[in-house]
Structure formats: structure tokens, C-alpha cells
């Protein structure tokens, strides 16, 4: 579910980053109040736990595997606020150190995985738990909560993707980022999550919480029941308003022609623009004139090519040196 860079336009990334900031601020404040100083290490260690959970391959019916996110799991174990901070931290480490998830799209990833999943999952679970009459009922509620939460997050991601062809287009009306419209992105994201990933997430969450509850009954987070209504409102507002915000921001940045939009929304194969776009799109390292230099001297183009050429040559030389060195190392080891 990690969105890499350049699948979402900068406007979308900015909007999602702004959308997730209130969640961070509220979570940080709540954590500071609830957890107190003694639990400060828990955030970092909780983030490490969240990171490691996302590494695990979970068996899925049918013999394949899926990756769990564990958002609802962390919300139930540590509380949704601590979960939000911990998962955001894990996502930051993943993006910076491992390139899992983009840097510009960090806000969007946090919105989907560190905000939507823990908060939605937690509130559904709490709702079910307060009404359940048995342990079993609670766990069913937990399964449903984690299933819904991960699928809703997938839906958010799908909407973020699917709006790109609408909000970010160039002068020719061609998509600058994700080329798939909502009619493609929504089924593409939701089907695997509704069938495989969601089921794995639900089963994994329930199994872990059951284990922990049995091993250490007092350890599971018990949240305060008051003042959830304003938070419900906040969650709903953010989740509903974000796509609208994306559209609004996009229209300020994008340059779409109404006709081209019509073509996209109705989902028809607009044969009119495909051939022209293909022609333009393929000429990637092309003579400068075609890209509208507007007064830049040609010499710059040559300098660029020279820099590129020299860089590629040096890289190739160093890689060759690696191969030779690898041979020498083997020889040394054999002789040792």
C-alpha cells in the first residue's frame, strides 16, 4: 500500500500532507497527555514493532502470502494516537532508509496507513466491543474493524490515484502522473484488498490480539470513552473533504480542457488524442527545439549531454572495477 513518488502529483501530495497534519498534532498532544514521560520510549519501540510487522508475510487462503499493515492491531494494543505516531515513524524510516514509499507522497501514505487505518479500525472495534456480549463477539468486531479499515485505506489510495488524470494534465491533456482513472484504480486497489489482504489483516489482527490478551490481559489499550464524537466528525470530514480538496487544488494547478475531461470521465477510448500523444511522448532525449527552449542557448544542451556522458562513463568504470575486485577477493579467500 506504500505509494511511491510521481504516482501522485505535487498538488495531491501537498493536500494529503496538509490533511494528515491535524491527525499528527492531535495524536502528539493526546500521547503526551495520556502516556506521560515513562512511555516515551514506547513510541520508538512501537514504531520498530510496526515496522517489523509490515515485513512479515502472512499466509492467505489459497497458498499465497500478503503483507499485513497492522494499523488496527497497533491501535488496539497501544491506542489510536500512539499508533498514528508509531506508524508514521515506521513509514518515515521505510521511505528514507529503504525507499519503500515516496518522499513527496509521505503525507499521503501517512494519511492512508497511519491515520485512516488506526482511527477507523479502533472506532469500529470500540463500537463493536461496547455492544458485544462475549469475548467471541469482541473478536468478530475486531476482525470486521480491521477488514473495513484496511479496505477503506485502499479506497483512499485508489481515489488519490484515480483523481490524477483529472487534476494533473499537461497542455495536450495527457496525464502527468498516475494514468489510471477512478474506474480503473478503484477496482485495481480494492479487489486484492477485499479478497486477500483484508482477510489476512483481519485474521492476523485477531490472532495477535487474542494471544496478547491471553498472555498479558492488562496490556491491551483501554481508551477513554468520552469525546469520541468530535473525533468521529474530524475523521469523516477529513476523509470526505480530501478528494474534494484534491479536485479543487488540482483545478488551480492543472490545465485541462473540458473536452479532454469529457473523454476521460465517460471512459471512452478517445482515439483522437492517443496517436498525437504517443508521438510526443516517445521522443524523450530529443533535440532541444521540440521542448520549447524559449531563448536558452544551445550550448547548455551540449553541456548537459557532456555531463551525462561523463557521469555514465565513470559509473560504468567503477562498476567494472567492482567486478575485477570481486574476482580478486575470491582468489584471496581461496588462498587464505
Amino acid at each position: 500500500m506504500h505509494i511511491p513518488d510521481n504516482y501522485l502529483g505535487p498538488a495531491t501530495c501537498a493536500v494529503m500532507a496538509v490533511a494528515v497534519v491535524p491527525a499528527w498534532v492531535v495524536s502528539a498532544k493526546k500521547v503526551a497527555k495520556e502516556l506521560s514521560r515513562e512511555k516515551v520510549p514506547l513510541l520508538g519501540i512501537g514504531a520498530a514493532f510496526s515496522f517489523l510487522i509490515m515485513m512479515l508475510n502472512v499466509p492467505v487462503p489459497g497458498g499465497t502470502t500478503a503483507h499485513a499493515v497492522g494499523g488496527t492491531l497497533l491501535a488496539v494494543l497501544l491506542g489510536p494516537y500512539a499508533a498514528c505516531i508509531s506508524i508514521s515513524t515506521a513509514l518515515l524510516i521505510q521511505a528514507l532508509v529503504f525507499g519503500d514509499g515516496g518522499i513527496l507522497s509521505f503525507g499521503a501514505n501517512c494519511f492512508n496507513m497511519a491515520f485512516v487505518i488506526p482511527f477507523l479500525g479502533y472506532f469500529i472495534y470500540k463500537f463493536a466491543k461496547d455492544r458485544a456480549r462475549s469475548r467471541r463477539g469482541e473478536y468478530i468486531g475486531l476482525a470486521i474493524a480491521s477488514y473495513i479499515a484496511i479496505n477503506f485505506a485502499a479506497l483512499c489510495g485508489a481515489i488519490e490515484f484515480g483523481l490524477q488524470p483529472l487534476v494533473a494534465r499537461d497542455t495536450a491533456g495527457l496525464p502527468l502522473y498516475c494514468p489510471y482513472p477512478l474506474s480503473v484504480s478503484i477496482p485495481a486497489m480494492l479487489i486484492p484488498h477485499l479478497t486477500l489482504a483484508g482477510v489476512a489483516e483481519a485474521a492476523f489482527t485477531v490472532a495477535i490480539v487474542a494471544f496478547v490478551a491471553k498472555a498479558s490481559p492488562g496490556i491491551v489499550y483501554v481508551g477513554s470513552p468520552v469525546k469520541t464524537k468530535p473525533l468521529y466528525a474530524l475523521v469523516v470530514a477529513l476523509v470526505v473533504a480530501s478528494p474534494l480538496g484534491l479536485l479543487a487544488a488540482g483545478s488551480a494547478w492543472g490545465e485541462w480542457a473540458p473536452d479532454a475531461i469529457k473523454g476521460v470521465v465517460t471512459g471512452g477510448k478517445s482515439l483522437g488524442f492517443v496517436p498525437a500523444g504517443l508521438e510526443k511522448g516517445f521522443r524523450f532525449p530529443a533535440p532541444m527545439q521540440d521542448y520549447g527552449l524559449k531563448g536558452l542557448p544551445d550550448i547548455l544542451g551540449y553541456i548537459l549531454s557532456a555531463v551525462l556522458g561523463v557521469a555514465v562513463f565513470i559509473i560504468a568504470y567503477k562498476l567494472l572495477g567492482l567486478l575485477k575486485k570481486g574476482g580478486k577477493d575470491d582468489a584471496m579467500k581461496a588462498g587464505a
Binding site: 498472555a215 579467500k333 581461496a334
Partner: protein
């Protein structure tokens, strides 16, 4: 039974084992001794198939143990059943909801019928004195109880070889004594015991043979346990005592 020839192993930054030649026969009881960082754990992991050497050969019961061979699930499973490994940290080995389930995990996998695996669990619970904690979650047991549960869960597979990584670590004297007696019993019953250990006080008479590794990961001495442990100069030079 276990034959290592010219085996070396390296981690990304350091060499762990250099050119080890070692033969262990069935029914042997061998202590692997050496200072910290000498590769004792690495040697055990190699023997039980958790790691494969970068050079040299390892044969178990005449069969070459290569990475390719171990990637065959059927072969790997059969091998892992025959060679049991006790981790230094018992918490790494315990993941079931009760001591009973922990010990029953292996026999259940093997497809034994309920009566059979129930019998095995009962035998091991009796042997290790775990009756009082049978239904408890292993995580919250004491260090000694955890170690016993971990060993019992490995024995439930009825392995022929037992690789023990610092089995006495962190245990109180009484638990050490009872564990020592158990290991002796298992060896007497025909199990091959290979044990990496620092703790020499409680293993008197347990091992017939000792293999000493140097800090650089070389096998420097291999002979009768009493003879090597009696050579104080050697042990001090090796930083073992």
C-alpha cells in the same frame, strides 16, 4: 555422522569460522568451548542447517548439506526433525499459547494422531517436571521453566542430535543441576549432544569430548574433555577461563 571438512563461514563484516575440520559420531557428547566471538553459535547453526558454509563441505549421515539441498522443503523438514537446536534466548523459541501447545507443536506437524502426541506431551511434561505450568503461557514463566519448555518442545520431535547453545545461561544452580542430569540421561539413551558452553561448573562428567575454538574462529584443539579442561595454561591462553 557429522563431518565438516575445511569449513569456513563469514558474516558480511567478519569471518566467523576458518577452515574447521570436525567429525562427530553418533552418541557422542561434545562441548564446544572458546572465548566470546569465537564462532561457537555459528558452528552450531551450521550443523543444524540454519547457515551454510562459504567453503568446505558438511556431510550429515553421508549426505552433502548444501544450500541447494536444504532448499528442498521435504529434505529440509526431514533433516530438521533429526537435528534439534536449542536457542540461547528461550523467548525466540516459544510462541504458543500454552506449554502444552508448545510441546505438542512438533508432533502435531508430524501428523501423529491425538493419542500419540498427547502421550508424548505427557511424557515430556513428566520428564521435565512441568505439570504445574502445563496450561500457562510460556512467555511469563521463569527463565528455568522457559528453558525446559524450549528443550521439551525440541525433544518432542525425537531428534537424533541435540545442538544446545549455552543451555545453562541465566539459570539458577538448582535448575542447572536438573538440566545437566536430563542431558546426561538423553545422551545415555543414545542422543548425540553438541553443546556450546561457557559454564563449566555444572557440566562435570557430562561431556566426553571438547572442541576448542580460538577468537579467530579456528579449531585449535579437539580431544577428551577432562584432558583439555585440566590444561589450565591452555585455557587461560585461550581466554576461556
Amino acid at each position: 555422522m557429522i563431518e565438516l571438512r575445511d569449513v569456513s563461514f563469514a558474516y558480511p563484516e567478519t569471518d566467523a569460522l576458518r577452515r574447521i575440520d570436525l567429525r562427530i559420531e553418533e552418541g557422542d557428547s561434545v562441548a564446544i568451548i572458546g572465548p566470546n566471538g569465537s564462532g561457537k553459535s555459528t558452528l552450531l547453526r551450521l550443523i543444524c542447517g540454519l547457515a551454510t558454509s562459504v567453503s568446505g563441505s558438511y556431510r550429515f549421515d553421508g549426505e552433502a548439506m548444501t544450500a541447494a539441498r536444504l532448499s528442498d522443503p521435504r529434505f529440509a523438514k526431514a533433516f530438521h526433525r533429526r537435528v534439534g537446536f536449542l536457542f540461547q534466548d528461550s523467548d525466540a523459541q516459544l510462541f504458543c499459547g500454552s506449554v502444552y501447545d508448545e510441546i505438542a507443536f512438533g508432533p502435531r506437524q508430524m501428523g501423529l494422531c491425538e493419542a500419540d502426541f498427547d502421550g508424548r506431551v505427557a511424557d515430556l511434561v513428566g520428564l521435565f517436571g512441568l505439570r504445574a505450568v502445563e496450561s500457562r503461557v510460556p512467555y511469563h514463566l521463569s527463565g528455568g521453566e522457559k528453558r525446559k519448555v524450549a528443550l521439551a518442545s525440541v525433544l518432542a520431535l525425537n531428534p537424533e542430535v541435540l545442538c544446545l547453545d549455552e543451555p545453562m545461561g541465566g539459570l539458577d544452580p538448582r535448575t542447572k543441576s536438573s538440566l545437566r542430569a536430563l542431558i546426561a540421561t538423553l545422551n545415555a539413551a543414545g542422543k548425540t549432544i553438541i553443546c556450546a558452553t561457557h559454564d563449566f561448573e555444572y557440566v562435570e562428567g557430562l561431556f566426553r569430548r571438547a572442541v576448542a575454538l580460538s577468537r579467530e574462529g579456528r579449531l585449535v584443539r579437539d580431544g577428551p574433555y577432562d584432558e583439555i579442561m585440566g590444561d589450565r595454561d591452555f585455557l587461560e591462553a585461550m581466554n576461556i577461563i
